[in-house]
Symmetry: C2
Subunit: 202 residues, 2 copies
DNA sequence: GCACATCCGTACCGATCGGTACCGAAGGGG
DNA sequence: CCCCTTCGGTACCGATCGGTACGGATGTGC
């Protein structure tokens, strides 16, 4: 354990950087990148503006770190879903997980990866593109998983894995938008189950 | 024809107000309400800032008028879809229309009603709420249409019209997000058809 | 041709935006 | 105990935000 916390020089940080990042996630999640001002962020994070810049670099850097933390935390269901034994179970876990994450009591509704920066001004284009890549990454993971399912005979040989992945991500995006519009968890669960009705049988 | 254009007093407007509105639609569509600055708008519309305010009131008023024009113009497929004879035909027309409108060459990708203001700062809350109401209105129209279908025996008596409407709107929202992420029209058409596979039979 | 109403654009408003210079405070290493 | 490094916050930066005062231009009605 001697390798942990090598005690960096200088005055120690007076706030928990991960906790502050969690607060930033909530602000970006509910207001989007452009709608979240530095005053919003610093107030929610409980730190001053220069502290934010020392710890995270810039508003855009902070967003990327917040997205990373969001991915590892609140959307961890996605990684678990990929480990389900059948393609149908994967699809079910993804959509149910999406509904739950998008309608979590005490958290903003919807999905940071969708509403963080869907349409933006030119200045925020890098953030917008990062979210596009984030969603694309999810599709890529699903595509590989469904290709495995085809290879294993869990899906018909003629199945297009990419189409199924895109379909799933599309429904998940739609659920996120509806959750942000105020749709309830039970409603969206029914929608998810309806969407799963067209899933191909092996 | 004597009732048209009663010739208001004062200096006549030097630009076509509907054409200017069309340009504003494109700006809000591609950059969102918050991402669209007045400089972006005035430059695209080819008018000065005070002209914009005289003709449209405020940035928020302009957005509402742009949304109205968008609804009557580029999403007119929706009203036509409701007139289809069967619920399945309605659903097909809505999703196919959504794909086409969201991937129109020469226009921004996605849907103004989704990416115009999905997550915003507090100042833009009214706009955000207006878009929520806009999407909710679409669901209400679909719900009434599918209730008709149930009454007419076109859908099973136990069918929940609201659930079907919410499902359709959810998929449409997801398609809009994917289109904004760069998915192609053929891809999204396949996704739409896959989503239609779970449509209930009469 | 004169009064009136509206439109035109330049030039400006206060507020807020993201970002930083600065200096005192707080720790470890010599 | 002093030096060095980093963190703390106050107070500020130029740029841009949405919005408007104002004076000249352009039309109709009398």
């Amino acid at each position: 354990m001697s390798s942990t916390t090598p005690v960096p020089p200088g005055r120690p940080r007076a706030f928990d950087i991960d906790e502050a990042l969690d607060r930033a996630v909530l602000v970006f999640w509910s207001k989007g990148f452009e709608g979240a001002s530095l005053d919003d962020l610093t107030e929610a994070m409980g730190i001053s503006r220069p502290s934010l810049y020392r710890a995270f670099g810039s508003k855009e850097d902070l967003f990327h770190k917040a997205l990373e933390r969001y991915t590892e935390g609140l959307t961890a269901y996605f990684a678990r879903a990929l480990a389900e034994p059948t393609s149908a179970a994967v699809a079910t876990a993804v959509l149910h997980g999406t509904v739950e994450a998008a309608t979590m009591p005490g958290f903003p509704t919807g999905c940071l990866g969708v509403q963080g920066a869907l349409a933006t001004g030119d200045d925020s284009r890098p953030v917008r593109d990062a979210l596009i890549a984030w969603r694309e990454d999810g599709i890529a993971h699903l595509t590989r998983r469904f290709q495995q399912a085809v290879d294993a005979g869990d899906l018909p040989p003629a199945t297009d894995p990419h189409l199924l992945a895109l379909y799933l991500r599309t429904v998940a995006n739609g659920i996120a938008v509806q959750a942000a519009s105020g749709s309830s968890r039970p409603e969206l669960l029914q929608v998810a189950n309806l969407a799963l009705g067209s899933w191909p049988k092996p």
